[in-house]
């Protein structure tokens, strides 16, 4: 066979499952097909050529519904390349291991950039783009849900609640002298399921459990510090942010893993989401430290809280002792850092002790 010359191949007319031997060649902007009885002309633009690959036969779709099928892929490719027709660059990449490795590196870089900048930026932008009325609605709904599932009316004395509320209000006023604090709404609830815990929901709902107040009965400043931490979540809109992030992460994992088994796919998504969650906690800790400092309270008071949490967990109080923070935590603090939603207590104690030094 001469390069550029005709190629003997097989043709199906699209009506009968029967192959016929034909000769094809390209002349000008037409594909000519000699069937033995006649010569058929097809405009090159309307012919759909197969992509070059190392395996599989070559099938070319003709505009009239017919098809040219060539079993010897190498022979076809040689003939076709000799015609000098344009080929998509992507097809070349997929035949080259160098381009494949470059694509792999590109994929890793893309995922790293998305991880460090893309997802946080997009989720923050989207979270802050949600109108406040809508956010308040979402918060109200989650609050009602939490209320019916986990929360009971508080059994704390009214006076103690009012005192804590007043202390926190003072700190907020000092930390936001311009009065630009985000709207918040604090409530106390008894909850045996959640134990010593506090969380913030979208729309500024802050909930603290009776159990946490009892744990820190002699340390009202630490309680105020925890509330400041929750206000940090409110200000950064972490509730919505995490919602968007979790969806973005699972979309990303879905694209990369394709139709990989559902359970396997949840593992990287969970790890990634938990890592973002730890970042949000550190940010809220920093916010708490700044607020306490602005109100003239040493951030070191927070260390007591974490020390007591460590003690509580060390006593083997199963499940009752949970860290403060987002509402979704199920795991105890003894979990390895990679799968925990919060940084470990030691790190946080150091953070608050050494703050401002």
């Amino acid at each position: 066979m001469q390069p550029g010359g005709p190629l003997v191949t097989r043709w199906f007319d699209g009506q009968h499952p029967r192959a016929r031997s034909v000769r094809v060649r390209i002349e000008g902007d037409e594909l000519l097909m000699h069937t033995g009885e006649e010569v058929r002309h097809f405009p090159l633009k309307e012919v759909r050529w197969p992509e070059r690959r190392s395996h599989g036969q070559r099938q070319t779709d003709l505009p009239d519904g017919g098809m040219i099928q060539h079993a010897d892929a190498a022979e076809w490719d040689q003939w076709w390349l000799a015609q000098g027709l344009p080929e998509s660059a992507v097809v070349g990449w997929m035949q080259s291991w160098r381009a494949t490795l470059a694509s792999m590196a590109g994929t890793v870089v893309f995922l790293a950039v998305a991880w460090v900048w893309g997802v946080p930026w997009l989720s923050q932008t989207l979270a802050h783009a949600v109108p406040e009325t809508l956010e308040a609605r979402i918060g109200k709904q989650s609050m009602e849900q939490m209320d019916s599932l986990f929360l009971e009316p508080s059994e704390l004395p009214e006076a103690q609640q009012a005192d804590l509320r007043r202390r926190f209000e003072t700190v907020v006023q000092r930390a936001y002298p311009a009065g630009d604090a985000p709207a918040w709404q604090l409530s106390f609830h008894k909850s045996e399921i959640l134990g010593a815990n506090a969380f913030a929901l979208p729309g500024g709902y802050i909930v603290m459990t009776d159990e946490l107040v009892e744990l820190l009965n002699d340390q009202p400043d630490a309680i105020v510090g925890i509330l400041a931490h929750e206000l940090g979540h409110v200000q950064h809109r972490d509730g919505l942010d995490m919602l968007v992030r979790a969806s973005l992460v699972s979309a990303l994992v879905g694209v990369v893993l394709g139709d990989a088994s559902g359970f396997i796919a949840t593992v990287p998504a969970t790890l990634a989401t938990q890592s973002y969650s730890r970042d949000a906690e550190r940010r809220a800790d920093a916010h708490a430290a700044e607020m306490l400092h602005a109100a003239g309270i040493s951030p070191a008071v927070m260390a007591v809280f974490f020390e007591r949490m460590v003690e509580e967990e060390g006593d083997g109080a199963e499940g009752a002792a949970q860290g403060e923070g987002a509402a979704d935590e199920e795991e105890g603090a003894s979990l390895p850092i990679a799968i925990s939603s919060h940084p470990d207590h030691g790190e946080r104690i150091r953070f608050f002790r050494e703050w401002g030094r």
Partner: protein, 408 residues
């Protein structure tokens, strides 16, 4: 190439040892899969990068290429299946699905009390989308230049799917108001609980039969030339298979439990032997047992039950799919599926997922090469029916979006 060997690839492999009543003119067509893991790896990586940098807009093009690769490498009697879908049409369908998917996400997260609206719309459209996706897929698949068709009608699609929605509808209409202001009447809740329990139980009992109806619709609609397939599986066969699968699942559970118990006992024994009886030490070990059971279960399920279900369902459905002149045969063994799954899982873990495209190709090879077709008469004399207008791009996108496919 001379005219003589033009038809070389068209030769069919005649099985010698087969003694079943075989008319002289009936021929066996073997299925071969010629795809290569390393080539699919390259396709996968390049597709993945392009999909990521275009924020998934490239996805339909990647999908078209992937489907073409798998179909072009599936040789039926030596001739490959063709894939002819226009990726730009698939792109339009994908955009629509993207808009629908994002709206659904937004509604269910931001206005959860209205989640039922898109859900209901989807339910109403689902059977039509399902059928459209089957039509699109079959119409764009060819063998020996003749396009396949899907001939199932719209009404049957709804009839096959409808029973799956009934339980949900019953719940919606009988559910007592969940208004916190409303007074709670215990009897209402009891009635609802009774209805809930009854409907769930009835659904579980009927599930194999309902599933069979779905499969009957699917496998009863495949068309090639004048042929139209039908699925000859009885309810008894279907229930038999479900019972067997249930039995295997129980066995796996039991095995996982026993293994976990064994591990825990060994660990406990060692702890007691080396560390003495520290107070609380045993409690910690006991607390670990459920996790070990769950882990063993999660490992055993895809490794044992997965191959069992995959091989038995493929055999049941394809072995009993036939038309007037075509009969399918499927001899997929549990052992071959188990082996390929085990090796795939191990290598995927070792290579941190990079083995995945190789695994896809291996699985496809095992599944496809377990099948064969028997054709009566001279296929070259068959005549394709007139092709209809192309439509149903949305259906194709929807089918893939929600993980529905032909089952092979």
């Amino acid at each position: 190439m001379g005219p003589q060997d033009d038809f070389a690839a068209t030769q069919v492999l005649v099985r010698d040892g087969d003694t079943t009543a075989q008319t002289p003119s009936s021929r066996w067509l073997d299925i071969q899969f010629t795809g290569s893991g390393s080539e699919y790896f390259r396709i996968w990586i390049v597709n993945l990068l392009l999909t990521l940098v275009t924020l998934t807009l490239y996805w339909p093009f990647a999908r078209a290429r992937r489907m073409a690769y798998f179909q072009n490498n599936t040789l039926v009697g030596g001739d490959p299946l063709g894939f002819h879908a226009d990726p730009w049409k698939m792109f339009r369908g994908y955009l629509l699905m993207l808009v629908l998917g994002i709206s659904y996400w937004a509604v269910s997260n931001f206005v959860p009390e209205f989640t039922w609206v898109p859900f209901l719309v989807l339910m109403v459209l689902w059977p039509a989308l399902w059928r459209a996706s089957l039509q699109f897929r079959l119409r764009n698949t060819s063998w020996r230049g003749v396009r396949l068709t899907f001939k199932g009608d719209l009404k049957s699609a709804y009839l096959a799917m409808l029973p799956f929605f009934l339980p949900g509808l019953v719940f919606v209409f009988t559910m007592p108001p969940l208004d916190p202001e409303a007074e709670v009447v215990p009897e209402t809740f009891q009635t609802f609980a009774a209805i809930f329990g009854f409907v769930t139980l009835a659904f579980m009992v009927l599930a194999p039969w309902l599933f069979l109806r779905i499969k009957r619709y699917q496998h009863g609609g495949y068309g090639f030339a004048q042929e139209r397939t039908e699925l000859q599986v009885s309810g008894v066969q279907m229930y038999g298979l479900f019972l067997k699968m249930f039995g295997v699942m129980l066995l796996v559970l039991l095995a996982a439990f026993l293994i976990a118990l064994g591990i825990a006992m060994i660990a406990f024994g060692t702890a007691a032997f080396t560390g003495g009886f520290r107070p609380g030490g045993g409690g910690a070990w006991m607390a670990v047992i459920p996790f070990v059971i769950v882990a063993a279960f999660y490992l055993a399920m895809p490794l044992v039950l997965g191959p069992y279900v995959a091989s038995r369902t493929q055999n049941l459905f394809w072995d009993n799919t036939r038309s007037q002149r075509v009969a399918f045969q499927s001899n997929l063994t549990f052992r071959s599926m188990f082996r390929v799954n085990l090796v795939n899982l191990l290598l995927i873990v070792i290579t941190l997922g990079l083995y995945w495209p190789f695994a896809k190709v291996r699985t496809a090879r095992v599944k496809l090469e377990a099948m064969a077709l028997q054709m009566d008469g001279d296929v070259e004399q068959w005549l394709a029916q007139a092709q209809k207008q192309e439509k149903g791009v949305l259906g194709d996108a929807a089918g893939d979006f929600f993980g529905m496919d032909m089952g092979l």
